[in-house]
Symmetry: C2
Subunit: 212 residues, 2 copies
């Protein structure tokens, strides 16, 4: 299980400082959508440069103009980039193609996708599927990923070597209770970055992940 | 009818040069998603500064983190910002609220929204609804807005003073044939920016819009 550190609502400098504190406990580093929209693609370039040994994910949330956006992210050094599951099929096809050509990966964000759409998405066997409770759902509605409620959508279970990511209010407590599902990536943001002791929290999360 | 000039896949400098050539024929200037993701929010700030007399739209395509993104766009000087219609309701609610508080506007991008979702969206009476054929659908599948096929989704027709925007391969020919629908905004990109004579094309489009 990989731990992905999500960096959001920070300057690029703060993001690098935050990630530096906990880098030995995380495997992937996410350049959050807010960094990309606030500072542009240089956020990906600078974080790539600061952490040459990590997997870098650009949370670019592509919905259109897929070739341009994915090429831009991969040229900036991202190993993985995200596309919205609710985007038109043609755009997701392009993301998959650009990733395949560059030897990189696509993460499909399942936020607000219907069951019918998830069925369509199940053809993308090489993608990582992110079961995502968004910031706004967490902060306004109070939702978060709860172990007891997590269920891999049925159409995806047919994929051999299915790669699942889980995001949305993930804490060490969540990982402690996670048993039946074996995510490929667990995405942790504020539980680490807003902790009083980020290093300790990241260490705890990494230890729990290693037990799996 | 307002003409919105969409600026995409350009540097900020090129975008300003392009818009300067045709500014007397366009009413709104769109800072395209590609500019925001490539150069960050300074793309909105610089285009705002270059065109103080125009309505500036930030095509930020919000899907989450709505308060942060919309506040950022409005503080950078945008008059209108976009949210995806397929985003969770809570995020669209926040966009509407931030816009109302700042005296700005929300454009809801209907790309790939289901009929059921459009019904939900029909509560946002103050929004501008964008009927959108995306770049990827145009460039890969060959779709474009065709006058004969355009139909305002039924749930939206109940809105008093409905404001519709139309985007996706719009040309002067399209405007020449448009009769029954009265869009509030028509979004034109490459028909102007990639024309051999952008000024002439923009003038023609503006004249056709003025007839309506």
């Amino acid at each position: 299980m990989n731990i992905q550190l999500a960096l959001d609502r920070l300057t690029i400098k703060e993001a690098i400082l935050n990630a530096n504190k906990v880098k030995k406990y995380v495997d992937w580093i996410e350049v959050g959508t807010s960094l990309i929209k606030e500072f542009g693609i240089k956020s990906v370039k600078e974080i790539r440069k600061a952490f040459p040994e990590k997997i870098i994910l650009a949370d670019v949330k592509t919905f259109d103009n897929a070739k341009y956006e994915f090429t831009m992210c991969f040229e900036a050094g991202a190993d993985v980039a995200t596309v919205m599951g609710t985007a038109p099929k043609v755009s997701i096809d392009i993301c998959m193609e650009v990733a395949r050509e560059s030897g990189r990966k696509v993460m499909i964000d399942l936020l607000n996708t219907s069951d019918e759409k998830i069925k369509e998405l199940s053809v993308y066997e090489d993608a990582i599927f992110c079961m995502h409770i968004s910031k706004d759902l967490q902060e306004v509605i109070g939702e978060k990923q709860e172990v007891s409620k997590i269920k891999v959508p049925e159409p995806l279970t047919k994929i051999k070597d299915l790669k699942i990511a889980i995001a949305g209010g993930i804490t060490s407590e969540f990982l402690e209770n996670l048993k039946d599902i074996h995510p490929y990536v667990v995405i942790v943001g504020s539980a680490i970055t807003k902790s009083n002791n980020p290093e300790l929290e990241a260490k705890k999360i990494k230890e729990l992940a290693n037990r799996r």
